[in-house]
Symmetry: D2
């Protein structure tokens, strides 16, 4: 099983999350590429740390929206969005290469992760850059990537509530984010070992994922992430980047 | 002889210069990379046009300063500037690749072109990306690149006045920019054929250049550029990218 | 009748439209406030020109989106959008004051002009800054402003096609923009003198407006604007800012 | 004596310092205005908190440089910089007014605080907006403001080392920032009660200041700020905004 997290999400003077601590936990790092977060120096430093830890580097691409951290839908024209994604990937590729590593996958961030209208721009950018996509299984993005023969990898969220249809309860709703360590660990194990997740209404859903997404920018997040990693290790789940 | 010009210098709704006309004239295109001008869609379109015309693509890198068009010195820390240059180059590389071409060289723009304090950041970025640098012969940048064994190519300006020490008369000074077509053409021929330039005080200076820089964003610029190209062609000067 | 136009829509090195020519034609200037277009120096210069011509200054407020020129819907949270509009208005107020004039009204730009979801943010910002709103009559924004007892002034478009329900045919559709001078002038006169507009299907609609919006950033726009002004003057329609 | 601190220095998703805690300590708040830090919603919230605590609001103006936090010198043309400062002040004025308070003074931030070349732009902006300037006593900015009959108020730094000529030891140098609580408190008392500061070489300098600047974005800063306030209160130094 792979563990991924968003990293390098500061900008200039501003920091976010404890990147060094998380890089000890994850096996894949989604590095912010400068449009919604991240700057060149942070991107490079994150790549260097990832390389030194054997962590795979992915391009965390998003809308051009520093003020909104990429969390607001923007009504892009598709070719423009596609080209901005390619731009971000290329920027990270050059900085990763400068640190002796390379970009292995692409993961959309924030509102772009969920924007049904924009899946073709993401898929086209993935094809143009030759990268696979990391996203939610069964999502419109996963489907579009599959249709375009772009490799897709699936990720699950051990700390998020699922609805019976397999989609996430939106972040704003009560109970959407699970913070109880025991519960998060149990859910991670269920995903990793049994490839299942239990929905809000109790339904047990099949949920085969290649990676579990951990969060780093909330209080206690790193402790939680460590607990998940440790539990998976104790359950003899091999931890490694989802890409060979 | 190579003819180069700054291209793709619009941003979003704003356009600058007549890119299509200039791409008929030049053999190398310095494509703005989004920090002082240029956006992803414009970069890609410019690469596509350049590729279809056999024009070489270079990365026109600059300070992060859309409001100042990269023409204002910014007191960067060198590692940050170096990484921002690598970022810009990588972004253009990915968009060029999407159009079946590639980035062949790096040329600093505006205040960065002249910033003595920043030559090491440029040279380090050139080395990290494996690109040669296009700049003024004898400049601090040319010297630093030479010291670092980074390939350097020299460019001259047929429409700019030179001082007796071989440097350009700064743009603000009277007479700094030459607009008379006959004179510009004569100066281009002198550079291309005799590898010389005549300074303001009449001194004849040796001036071996690999490329002549043409401008596109002033009234009459395209006509002037065409006249230079035609004159060189008639003088049997072969026109081709400075890189093999 | 008032004639208004968008002005000061350049940014740094980039210019858009012929502001000086338009300021000879209009009686109200919608000055871009820096978020989707415009910069401080341009705003000030536009205020100075407007003041010297007796042209009323309005705040052309928009989304934070230089790359998209404010033409893309952004899913803002309302309080944030409201505060960004107040921010823009205040910035223009200070620059207008420095030139001895003042901001008289607020007009949303681009996607914000049409965003039904955002009318409350605009109305709240108008109330906070004590400014009336200039917008399309009968629009959701006009209604919301009316409900909130914020003064509203109505504008018509002599060069745009109307649907039978009184709304504009969207800009992308064929026939949406009318460029024939005779027709534009006739429509302006019909609006100004008879308070009517003829819809696409021939329906004659009542259309009482306080201002006619002219455009300046397309080829021939200034000539068209001048023709409208002249025709109104010849028809003895008094031309003056819509605010007393 | 007044106590001032930089506040509202987050941007979008990113926070910096503990604004609420500091607003309990200071009597004047330098609110970042969006060019180097700060966004409209943060500015408004900071004004609201300041108003509710009786804290005076000042405009913390800076270069247009979010990526550099305003700490890098930028070679502006003076009229442009002047207009950008007016722009920032106006934006804050409108948001302050929306919260029932108003902007009382102007304080340059970061590299602009120290930029000798830019004092005239600051002074012109202060005059245009009718605001006094808060800066270091004896600085080129203080002198230029005095010459222009713009009111100037002086601030001292209890946690910074002074050179024998009365200037600050630059932030990068060892010993530039004093973190020992006892020493900082002693220096604050010496400034507030005796109007003196002891330079690095032991020289006792006269140092009459209207305000002491406290910092909030470093670990332990709030504790230090509280200690200074408490010590001044115990020494019967009245604490209030420097402006009546």
């Amino acid at each position: 099983m792979d563990l991924n997290a968003d990293l390098g999400e500061g900008f200039g003077r501003w920091e976010l999350g404890d990147d060094e601590a998380l890089l000890d936990v994850v096996t894949s790092a989604n590095v912010a590429c400068g449009f919604h977060a991240g700057d060149a120096a942070t991107m490079r430093r994150t790549c260097a740390l990832a390389a030194s830890q054997g962590v795979a580097v992915g391009a965390q691409v998003g809308y051009r929206d520093l003020a909104g951290f990429g969390r607001r839908f923007i009504e892009y024209e598709l070719p423009q969005l596609r080209d901005e994604i390619i731009y971000q990937v290329g920027a990270l590729q050059a900085l990763a290469a400068a640190e002796g590593t390379r970009v292995r996958y692409l993961k959309p961030h924030g509102a772009l992760y969920h924007a049904v209208a924009h899946v073709d721009a993401i898929v086209d950018a993935a094809r143009a850059t030759g990268l696979p996509v990391l996203c939610a299984p069964g999502s419109p993005l996963a489907t579009a990537a599959g249709d375009a023969v772009v490799p897709v990898y699936a990720e699950g969220f051990a700390d998020r509530a699922y609805r019976a249809d397999g989609t996430l309860l939106p972040r704003g709703k009560p109970g959407a984010v699970i913070t109880d360590q025991e519960e998060v660990v149990a859910r991670a194990l269920l995903m990793a070992v049994d490839q299942r997740v239990i929905a809000l209404d109790g339904t047990v859903l099949p949920h085969a994922v290649d990676s579990i997404c951990l969060h780093g920018d909330t209080p206690g997040a790193v402790t939680l992430a460590r607990a998940v990693r440790e539990a998976l290790a104790q359950a003899d789940v091999p931890l490694r980047p989802f890409l060979p």
